[in-house]
Amino acid sequence: MTDTERHEADVLVIGAGGAGLRAAIEARERGLRVAIVCKSLFGKAHTVMAEGGCAAAMGNVAEKDSWQVHFRDTMRGGKFLNSWRMAELHAQEAPDRVWELETWGALFDRTADGRIHQRNFGGHTYPRLAHVGDRTGLELIRTLQQRIVALQQADHAETGDHESRLRVFAECTVTELLTDGGAVAGAFGYWRESGRFVVFTAPAVVLATGGIGKSFQVTSNSWEYTGDGQALALRAGADLVDMEFVQFHPTGMVWPPSVKGILVTEGVRGDGGVLRNSRGERFMFGYVPDVFKGQYAQTEDEADRWYDDQDANRRTPDLLPRDEVARAINTEVKEGRGSKHGGVLLDIASRLPAEEIKRRLPSMYHQFKELADVDITAEPMEVGPTCHYVMGGIDVDPDTGATAVPGLFAAGECAGGMHGSNRLGGNSLSDLLVFGRRAGIGAADHVGGLAARGGRRPAVHDEDVDAAAELALAPFARAAGGVDEDGAAGENPYALHADLQRTMNDLVGIIRTEAEMTAALDRLAGLRARLRDVVVEGHRQYNPGWHLALDLRNMLMVGEAVASSALRRTESRGGHTRDDYPTLDARWRHRVLVTHTRTDGPADPVVPRVAVDVAERDPMRPDLFALFELEELEKYYTPAELTAHPEGGTP
Amino acid sequence: MTHLVRRILAPEFGAHGVHSRGRAAIGSGTVRLDNWWRAPAATTAGLLVFLLYGGFRAFQQQYFFADERYLTPFYSPCVSLGCASEPGSAHFGMFLPDNPLIPYAALSLPFLLGFRLTCYYYRKAYYRSIWLAPAACAVPEPHATYTGETRLPLILQNVHRYFFYVALLVSLVNTYDAIVAFKHPTDGFVVGVGNIVLLVNVALLWCYTVSCHSCRHVTGGRLKHFSKHPVRYWLWTKVSALNTRHMLFAWVTLGTLVLTDLYIALVAAGTVTDLRLVG
C-alpha cells in the first residue's frame, strides 16, 4: 500500500468536537503541527447538541459558589466513584476555560452587571451554568472553530499557508490506530467522500471521538457516536474504565416515533418546568432517595418558592441528578401512570408566560413546534428517558490525558473517570474544555519529550497499513464473491445495526438484570459472527452502507464492554441500575471495572474480544476528603475508609 | 399557461449558474412546481398600476383640492403658480412656473419617488419582479452577468438615507395638510369623511417613513453599545418593531395614497359629496 495518501503531523487529533478542538488549539499554541480528523464536516460535531450550559464555579450569580462546592457536587453526582483528581482539576479550571472562550469571541448570556449569566441545573448547588439560551454547545463549538480559523489566519500571515500548522481533515474516518513497538505511530482511515485510504503519521494521537449512543435504539446521540475512540484505544492496547455507567437522560422526546430520543434540555426544569404523571401529580416528590434527603423541597410550595429565593428554600426534586429522575420516570410509566405515548408530562406552559418561554428556551420551542407540532407555551411536552452519555471511557491519567499506550491521549466523553457513575448536566462542556486542553498539553509535552531525548519517532509499518486496508475492504470482497461458502446471503449492515440497538436498549438499558445481560452477551456474540458476513453494495465513493459496516466493528466492541462490565457490577449506582441488586454497596464504591482486549482464546481481528477486571480506585487525597461532612460520606463509604476523615470515625 | 410563464421567466442557459460544470446535472433550472411566478407577477402588476395612476394624476393639474380644504398628497406641497386655480391649496407659497410638464408638487414628488425607489423593500420587490434577479428563490435569473449594486447606476441606491430625510419633511407637510383641512375658510372647524381619509393616510405614511431601514440605522442601529445610549436604544427597539412590517406599510401606503387621492379627486370633480360629520 505504498501509494496510499500520507500526511504527517506532530499531534493527530481524532474528533473535532469540543475536546478535540480544544486539544488541537493547545497543541498548536505550543508550536506543534496539528492534524484534526473528523467524520463529519468541520463544526458539526455532537457538541452542538449540548443545550443547557457549561458548568463553572465563577460565582457570577451566586457569590458563595467556589470550586470546592463544584467539586463536592460532582463527586456527589457521581456517587463518589469519580476519579477525584479529575473532578478536582475540572472544578478548579472550568472558570478559566469559560473566560478564555470570551477572549475568542463567545457571547454568553449576561447578568445585569455585564458578567456571564449562570443558570440552575440538576445536582448543582448554585446557579452555575454559563449558557446562551439553550444552544450553549453550538456557541462552544463555533467559538473553538473560529479560534482554529484565527490561528490558521495567523499561520497564513506568517507562512503564506493557512494549513501549515493546523489542518482539518473533514469527513474522514479513522478505522485503526497504527503502533510501533507498543507506542502510537499514527492512524489509518478513509475519506468518506472518495473512499480512498489515508495514513497519518504522528508521534502523539489525541482521541476525542465522543460517546457510544448509537449502540442504543432510543438515543439523543447522532450517527457519529459509534464508540470509535473507545474501540480504537482498546485495539491499540489501552484500557477502558466504568463502561457499565451509561447515562439515560430523563427527558427525551417520545413522540412522534421519528424523533424519539431527541433531547429536551434540563434547562426546561431549571427554568421552572415540572414533571407530572398522567394524573397530574408532581411525582418527583415521592422519589427523593435517602442520600439526598434534606437537600430537596418536600412540598410543592417550597419548591415553587425556591425559584425566587434560593437561600431560604430547598430546590425542587425535579432537579435531582439525571439517574434519579430517569428511574422515577421509568417507574411511573411501568406502573401505568405514563402519558399517551409512554412517557410523562413536562409542563412549562402553566408555569411561565408564553413570551418568557420563547425567550429562555427558543430552540426547545422551535424543536417541538417543528418536529412534534406541539406548542410548549400552551401544552405540556411528553418526555421519557433516552440514552445520552457514557460516563465510562478510556482510562487516562487525570493530569495529562495519557493512556497506557505511549503517545496515545484521550479527552472528553470518550475518556472515563471524571464523572464517576453519573454525570451532572453542564459538566460535560466544561469537561471538554478542561481535559481537551490538558490532553493537548500532554500530547505536546510527549512530542517535546521525544525530541529532547533525541528519540526516534515511531514509524508506521507497511504491513499494518495493508492489514487495515484489507479489513476495511472486506465487506466489498464478500460482495464480489457473491453468496458465501455456507450458502447464506450476506448480512445487511442496517439490519445488523438495528439488531444491535434493540439488544442494547432492551437488555442493557436503564434497568438491568443478570439474566438479561447474559442474554445480551449471547446475542452480541451472534452479531459478531454475522458481522463477518456483512456485505455492502455499490462502490467506495460516499457509501453510507460501507461506513456503517465499518462503524459496527466499534459499536459491537463497546457494546460488549458495556454488557460485560454491567454484568460484573452487582450493585446499583448512578447510571447502572440492577433490578437484582437494587441498592448502593459501599464495597463497590472504590472498585473500578477495567475493560481490555483479551489476549487468550481465538483471535477475532474484526471485533477483538474483551475482558473485564476489577481494579481499585486510589483513596481521595485527605484535604479533598475533608471537604465533605462525615455524615454524608457515611452513606457511601465503608467504616474502615472513613477513618481517613479528620472527624475520624472509629477505627 | 403555468408552463409557458415558467419558460419565459426561467429560460435555460448553457453551462451557466446551476448548469455549471461539476454541479448536479438535474436538467431543468428549477424543479419548483409551486406557483412561484405569482408573487413577482402580482408585484409587477401592483407597481405598474400605481405608477400609471400616479403619473397620470401628477400631471393632470386638476381636481387636487376639494371643499376648499382637502389637498391631495399628490399635490402637496402645492408650489406651482398654477395652484392659484384652487385658492387655499398652496400652504407654502407659489413659485414654480405653471407648465404642463412640471407637476404642481414638483418640489416633493421626485424625492418621494426616490425614497421609494431606493427603499430596501421596494428594491427587493422590483429586483425580483421586474428585473427577475431572481424572480423567486432558487429560480435561475435570465441574466448572463450580474454585478449587484456595485456600479452605476445601482450604486446610487446608497443615497437612500437622503431621500429618507426629505421624506420626513414631506411627511411633516402632509401632516400639516391633514391638520389645516379641519378648518373650512367659511364654516370654521369641520370634520368630514375626507378629514378621516387624510388622517389615516398620513398616519400610515409616517409608519412607512419611520419604519425605513435607514431610519432604523440612524436612530440607533449604528451604535455599538446600546447600553450607553438608553434613549436611542429605546427608539431603535420601537423603529425595529415597525421595521419588521416595512413591506406591509410599503404596500398599504401605495393603496391609501391612491384611495386618498381618488377620493379627493372625486369630491373635487363633484362626483361624490363629502359627508360632514361635524360642523
Binding site: L41, K44, M49, W99, G105, L107, D113, G114, V132, L138, E139, R142, Q146, V149, E193, S222, W223, P256, P257, V259, S363, H366, E370, L371, N492, A498, E537, H539, Q541, Y542, P544, G545 | G17, V18, R23, A24, V31, R32, L33, D34, R123, K124, Y127, A133, P134, C137, A138, Y146, E149, L154, N158, R161, G221, R222, K224, H225, F226, Y233, N243, T244
Partner: protein, 253 residues
C-alpha cells in the same frame, strides 16, 4: 399524508459530478416522519449506498441540507405531513456547490470563505474574566451566532447560484452575517466596514431576501445583518453629512 402510514413515491436525484438522474422510490412513510426518515428507509431497504450527509437529525447541526421540490431545506426539519398525498416529492442536492454523490455536495467554498473573514480582535489589555458586556449589547450578535452553518443561504443566493464567476468576489450571506456579528460585537476592536464592501462583496447583494426565507433558524439575515452593514458602508462612503460631522468633531478634539 392522510393515514398513519402511507406508501409514497419519492424522486431522489442520484449521480455524481459527471451525470445523474432522478430515480423513483416507492417507500412507506409513517405518521410524524420527516423527509430524512423516509430517505433512511430507502437506504436501509432499497439503496444502501444512497449518499446523504446528516448528523443530529434535530435541526441543530445543519448537515442535511438539500433541495426539496426545488427549495433549499433541511431534510430533518421537513415533515412529510407538509406534502399532500398528490404532491410530488423531488429531492435534489444543493445546486450552488459541486456535487460529490447523490445528495452530498462539496461545500468547501463556505470553509474557504470563512477563513477570509478576519477573526475577533479583543481589546488589548483586557484579561479573561474581565469582560463586561450588557445583554442589550450582545443580543444582535447572538442572533447571528444561532447560525448552524447549514449553508442553505449560501445555496439559495442567486449571486453565486446563478453566477459561478462571482464566487471569488462574494462571501455569501452566511459570512457577510459573520462580519456583521463581529462589527456589532461590543468588544471587537477591528474596523470591518471597508472590507465588507471591498473584499467580501456586500455590494453584490441586492437584498432580495432569499437567504432570510430559507434560514432554518429564522435569523433575519437581510434586515438585521446585511442591510445594517450596507448602512454602515453608506456612513463611510456615501454620506457627506457623516463625513462633515466627523471632520468637525475631529477638529474639536
Amino acid at each position: 399524508m392522510t393515514g398513519p402510514s402511507d406508501s409514497r413515491v419519492v424522486r431522489v436525484w442520484r449521480g455524481d459530478a459527471d451525470d445523474g438522474e432522478l430515480v423513483d422510490f416507492q417507500v412507506e412513510a409513517h405518521e410524524g416522519e420527516v423527509v430524512l426518515d423516509v430517505l433512511h428507509r430507502i437506504q436501509a431497504t432499497q439503496a444502501p449506498d444512497l449518499a446523504i450527509r446528516w448528523n443530529c437529525k434535530a435541526g441543530k447541526c445543519g448537515s442535511c441540507s438539500a433541495e426539496i421540490n426545488g427549495r433549499p431545506r433541511l431534510l430533518c426539519m421537513t415533515r412529510m405531513s407538509v406534502f399532500t398525498q398528490y404532491d410530488e416529492i423531488v429531492i435534489t442536492p444543493l445546486r450552488t456547490f459541486p456535487v460529490i454523490r447523490d445528495l452530498v455536495t462539496d461545500v468547501s467554498f463556505n470553509y474557504t470563505k470563512a477563513r477570509e473573514i478576519p477573526a475577533f480582535v479583543p481589546p488589548p489589555g483586557l484579561g479573561p474574566g474581565e469582560y463586561r458586556m450588557a445583554q442589550a449589547d450582545v443580543e444582535r450578535s447572538q442572533e447571528f451566532r444561532k447560525c448552524i452553518e447549514c449553508f442553505l443561504c449560501q445555496d439559495v443566493c442567486h449571486v453565486v447560484r446563478d453566477h459561478e464567476e462571482n464566487k471569488s468576489a462574494f462571501a455569501g450571506p452566511r459570512h457577510l452575517m459573520r462580519v456583521a456579528e463581529l462589527e456589532m460585537h461590543p468588544l471587537d476592536t477591528a474596523d470591518r466596514v471597508p472590507a465588507v464592501q471591498d473584499q467580501h462583496g456586500l455590494g453584490l447583494c441586492n437584498i432580495t431576501k432569499c437567504c432570510t426565507e430559507v434560514c432554518p433558524e429564522g435569523i433575519k439575515i437581510t434586515d438585521n445583518a446585511l442591510i445594517p452593514m450596507k448602512e454602515r458602508v453608506a456612513d463611510r462612503r456615501y454620506d457627506p453629512l457623516v463625513w462633515l460631522g466627523r471632520t468637525i468633531s475631529r477638529r474639536r478634539d
